[in-house]
Amino acid sequence: MSRNDARWFRALLRLFPSEFRGDFGRQMADDFRDSSEDAASRGGPRGTLRLWLRTVFDVLRRAPLEHADVLRRDAAHALRLLRRRPASTATVVASIAIGIGLNTALFIVVRGVLWQSLPLPDSDRLVRVVELDPAFPHRFPHLTPGDFVDLREQTRGFSGVAAGFATFQTIVEPGEPEELPGMMVSDGYFETLGTRPVLGRTFTAEEYAAPNIDTSISAVAGRLDQRAKGQPLAVSVVVISHHLWQRRFLGRSDIVGHRLRLATALMVEIVGVMGPEMRAIAPTAGVPPEWWMPRAPLGTARRGNILETVARLAPGQSLDSARAELATVGAGIAAAFPGAKPGRSFQAIPLLEMVVKDVRSQLMFLLGAALCVLLVTCLNVVHLFLANAAGRRVELATRVALGATRGTLIRQTLSESAVLAGIGGAAGLLLAVWSLPLLLSIAPPGIPRLHEIRVDWWTCAFGVTTAIAVALFCGVAASLPLTLLMPWQALGSARGGITLQGRRVRRVLAIGEIAVALVLVVASMLMVRTMRALLTQDLGFDPQGVIAAALPRPVRPPLDAAAHALAHDQEVRVIEAVSQLPGVVAAGVGGSPLGMMTGLGGITLPGDPREWPTVGLTPVSMGYFEALGVRLKEGRLFTPEDRAGAPVVAVVAESTARRFWPSRSAVGQTMILPANGPVQVVGVIADMAEGGLETKTGGIFIPHVQSFYITLPRMLIRTDRDPQPLVPAIKAIVRRVNPEHPFPDVVPLQEEIDRATAPRRFTLRLIGMFSLLGVALAVIGIYGVLAESVAERVPEIGVRIALGARPADVVTLILRQGIWMLTVGLAIGLAGAFVVARQMKAMVFGIGTLDPFSYLTACAMLAAAALAACLIPARRAVSLDPVVALRSE
């Protein structure tokens, strides 16, 4: 055998574990030499080649098995060691399980919501086309019909561009009347998304080409008249959602071909059922559509951003190229049709990004917080390891003296942490899967795609990866002091190197734990303060005791002034009937402040032809302001004298008044509304909170009896007692007026406010729980260091007490160490918290991210908890009997 062969063979042997090589390497080399000489003499070069092939194959097969054997023995050894200290093992496993469980549960949510592609074919090629308004850079309005049509015709970078117009329809037959959200879609809508119905079909070219279903008041009234004359209703087609099919039609397979009667006096035939994947593209922050009808209101209007536009990138096109084209084409359109917004431009945003944009920062923040908890957990595990190593220092030093290499010691520490992380990780995975339904049940309703969240192999992969990371981190960190161990140090002295190094590392760990815990506590304090600010702010109205109910719509829509008066009369009768109910203080019709308002454009002031941008306009009845408890700032509210035919009056909100008349009182001023003509302002009220309660909105209110605008179908009722018993009576009154009206849901206004703050409450609950865990672990950490230090200094403390040290001196001696760690930890934690808080800008309200109160309270709370933990070892030190203490040396 040549020297080269021997070298190659030795190189091959390196694939085996070093232990195996040490035991058998020389023999194997000898045997291989004999074999190869034999093979060469008998088979020549071919024999040698055959031997080599066989040997290489054999080594490749055996080496992993030998490695596995080493691991198995290390793990068995680690298990034996761990079984010897069941209490600390259980603690470590439990804390790892909680840490990994939390992170895995949040990972499942984050992946399901933010990262998993939308359940549509090639969904990463889908974009939403939106308008960019220089006046509101953070809003992404839908397109106006005119802009949509032009963009669709002029762009080449998309293989499909389609739009939907979100609206409501009320099904009145068969079954209970029910109002359902849905979409009027343009041709190519389903094709662009790439979805197919699970049952039946979508719409044909003819159906898309048919005239728009006229939902104008006159058209509906005309159809109602026809029906009254016994003529059959016009028939259109509808595709329903999987959800509606399952819920209302119990998933019956013969649903295609069924007809539904709508409140707009129209028959629609169900031609298809879409799959559940359509829920994923629910309109932003809206309810998923339950039905689709042809076709979207297209046209040339440049006002009204009503078309939710979806487009698919053409093959070979990138997002950037599509954006570049949109910019050029859009600039041309904006220049040709300045319309209401001259400076507008258009942008393509990936559909997934649009769907999750409102929850991304919140979820990532929570995942980050969970990672912090895991970090504190790991630091604590390393703590326990080092405490154990300190207890075993003589054993470890002896082994080093007897020739155990550092590598062996590190490997054993690693295998111990691997076993712990393995068991903890498995438990954590179970915990995550088990707690996921709980987590989802407290999740706020606004989070999209929650129904898509699944436990899959990604979950396992994440759990396993996290467990491996924990094992490596803990193993390496815990073996650091071991690598610095010199046998003579540990053997020579009771306070040998391992303890010294270990204690130094453990102090660093305790400081780290305090720092991370402080970041968590500051974050949760900021959330607590935000919630407080939201809930104690002046809402502009008083929700206590107010319930909101859907108002019956007139069976026949008001077509002329007389019918309008009739409709208003009906509203008034409902309000009067409701007002008579026992306990009702005031009742009125108008929008709920948290709900939607009708935007009104085209308002002008006398002598100034400029049109004002859209302002919210709400026609309200008598009793509305009283029911809502608004605060009058100036002038008066409406009186019975503001009746139909009388001069039209308006009440405006403070900010609107300031906008129209910045330097004058609004009361007595006149504004010109497109449908009413001149309207005199008689009063100014405080702005009311809207949406997530973070913004205040202005608005114009006019008496509904003087208005030609449709009253928002909502009734607000203020009661002086529990409103629940009133619900059946209210429903009965509503039913009496319009039996085809959907059964009104009666909700306390407070519930709507709770819903508005739900996302923050969810974040607050989780971050609060995380910070409690973080603080608990950090306190355990600092306690451990001090307790050990007291145990080690027993003789010294004994001497001090024997020499006359007072209890206060001893306490100070021990506490000084704790306070030092605490101070450094808090300082580092504060720096970290400043950085983290900057990321929370979108989440806080009413306070700055540098809110001093939050930081101070967080520090004080953590310090109090840590000092309380420090007092336990300090008390132990004080109560030492000097005689016993001195003997212990």
Binding site: R26, M28, D30, D31, V59, R61
Partner: protein
């Protein structure tokens, strides 16, 4: 570990074919690794051909179980040879007996008239 008189040889059965052959190859005297390879190959007429990696995996196990032990090779001090322990012999015998019983019962079963 060496010889453990209290241990039950049957606890280790059945042996894998390769392991059994390695034990058999040591029945007539100490051998080093290469000699074991050759002996197994010739005894099985080339049917069982062990490579060094597999062989030493087996040797490791046999040493750990106390079926063989290391001895110095007479003609070459540097090389290690292996010797069958008394317990190893018992285990090999037990395996042989197990195989014999198996063969006997198989024959009986197969030769019975249908």
């Amino acid at each position: 570990m060496g010889d453990a008189p209290g241990r039950d040889p049957a606890a280790l059965l059945p042996l894998t074919a390769a392991l059994f052959h390695v034990l058999l190859s040591l029945a007539d005297g100490d051998k080093h690794g290469y000699a074991i390879l050759k002996e197994v190959e010739s005894r099985t007429a080339g049917e069982v051909v062990l490579s060094t990696g597999t062989l030493y995996g087996i040797i490791k196990r046999l040493l750990a179980e106390g079926l063989i032990r290391e001895v110095a090779w007479l003609s070459d001090e540097r090389r290690t040879a292996y010797r069958l322990t008394a317990f190893g012999r018992k285990v090999a015998l037990a395996e042989a007996e197990r195989l014999r019983a198996l063969v006997a019962s198989a024959k009986k079963l197969l030769q019975e008239p249908a």
